[in-house]
Amino acid sequence: MATANSRPTVLPGDEIDPSLIPQSKNKPLRLGPGLRHIPPNTILPTVAGQLITLPHKSSMWVEYNSNRYTPTASDLIIGTILRSGPDFYYVSLSPYTASATLPHLSFEGATKKTRPQLVPGSLVYARVTLANKHMDPELECASASTGKADGLGPLTGGMVFDVSLGFARRLLMGRSRQEGKVEVLELLGGDEGKLSFETAVGRNGKVWVGSENTKTVVIVGRALKETDEKGLGVEAQRKLVRRLVKETR
């Protein structure tokens, strides 16, 4: 990688080179996932990964891949409804972990009478609003301030595919092609694949793919899983898409 020096690999407990820590007079330093502040002025990585620093935003975090999802506020996730309570839906974010709560009225335009009736097993695309260490996380499907859904809500039809957390994060990056090195979805939808489909990516390692055509969903799912499991680069992704499209035509 060209920017290898600006993205050093750190291990848990490593000392961080003080020259890498952004120094800013007017902005306080913001620490992201994987870093821990030990007062007065020690910063230690708690996971193994690439240390990323943004001097102009005065922030730093560790980019890493894992399989276990820990909810963080403002994450977009895909959850499965477990059951409905008097005021909340209980939603599972990952298997064998505590369920999250989603208020019945936290959907766009929902009132007591018009709220969506979700049966156990249905999928929702939601945002984490509250994530504390010893409490069940809370979710919302409509922004609390504007009341708009912004694409969140129940997911109907389609299929969910499990991917690693790092891959889900790469897919969600604003410029996933340059920063995350994932181009597979653009290729499938573009000239290479000419497929029409929609996706929703959850930070909990789930990707929902919907399309009118069942075959399209299968191709997109296979492409995503293979890219993730084999760690394919951009060129390899292009080859993979070509192969998959050819195979099924």
Binding site: T80, S92, P95, Y96, V119, G121, S122, L123, L155, T156, G157, G158, M159, V160, W208, T214, K215, V217, V218, G221, R222, L244, E247
Partner: protein, 293 residues
């Protein structure tokens, strides 16, 4: 004990719809297995089988014990199956789930009751001493079709296994260490393999081989056929579920035979490869105390 997670409604509907259009999520044909891989350990009798993401490890071992009083001329042969919480948090030690009971019963019926291992050859002194052969099956990762993978692992481990050589002289039984005499293979009669079909749809009209975990969760019935490469069926287990047409089952058993032949050829190839690797300089034939028959 946490419950096994269930696939969501969207997943269930989609997998069924795709199957009706003859598509599988991983792009396989309906009668195609995931890539099967077998590796033997450094010791004799260790077989590690991976079938896609399912992984099973089988270890065979032998010790000298007293035979059962009602069967003084037979050795003892047991298969111990254990699904540990390492496989999935839904499994708990010492509290067998339905999957575990079915798995051990099927292995028992396939390998033990079909007399794949000649237990009479395990007898050393009638009524006093015999070999007790034990196979431990460890499921390391569960992504569906445990039965086929576990059965293949058990058969591979037993065929790879060598027990210490023994001799009887004037009523004295001697068990030789591997340094003194090359260990001898078990007396193996035939290699049965399990082939599991899963059925989908209201009438069970769609039949698949080698179902993954998701497919297993939504199937309406399953049928395990155990047979060897000569087409001798050891058992057929269809435990409950939707009734399936008899003609369809006949077709299934026809395909199962070709699969069993493929498994058998693959296993023979792997065993030959392993023997070649161990037989450095071609000295194994001289060390062996076995007679050619």
């Amino acid at each position: 004990m946490p419950r096994e997670v269930e696939p969501s409604l969207n997943e269930k509907q989609f997998v069924l719809q795709a199957l009706q259009e003859n598509l599988r999520l991983d792009g396989r044909e309906i009668d195609q297995y995931r890539p099967l891989e077998l590796t033997f350990g450094d010791q004799y009798g260790v077989a590690d089988v991976t079938l896609g993401k399912t992984r099973v490890l089988a270890k065979a071992s032998a010790e000298v014990t007293v035979p059962y009083t009602d069967r003084p001329l037979d050795g003892i042969f047991t298969i111990a199956t254990e699904l540990s919480p390492m496989t999935s948090p839904a499994f708990e030690l010492n509290r067998p789930t339905e999957t575990e009971v079915l798995l051990s019963r099927l292995l028992e019926k396939t390998v033990r009751r079909s007399n794949a291992l000649d237990t009479e050859s395990l007898c050393l002194i009638a009524g006093q001493k015999c070999w007790s052969v034990r196979v431990d099956v460890h499921v390391l990762s569960h992504d569906g079709n445990l039965i086929d993978a576990a059965c293949f692992a058990v058969v591979a481990a037993l065929r790879h296994f060598r027990k210490p050589d023994t001799s009887m002289e004037g009523g004295v039984l001697t068990v030789y260490t591997p340094a003194e005499r090359e260990p001898v293979p078990l007396s193996w009669l035939h290699s049965p393999f399990c082939i599991t079909w899963s059925f989908f749809g209201d009438q069970g009209e769609i039949a698949l081989l080698d179902a993954t975990w998701v497919e297993e969760q939504i199937r309406v019935a399953s049928c395990t056929i155990s047979l060897n490469r000569h087409g001798e069926i050891c058992q057929i287990a269809k435990l409950g579920g939707t009734p399936v047409d008899a003609v369809a089952l006949l077709q299934c058993s026809g395909v199962a035979l070709t699969k069993a032949k493929e498994f058998s050829t693959y296993l023979d190839g792997k065993l030959a490869e392993d023997t070649k690797k161990r037989n450095k300089g071609g000295l194994l034939a001289e060390l062996s105390a076995e007679n050619d028959r």
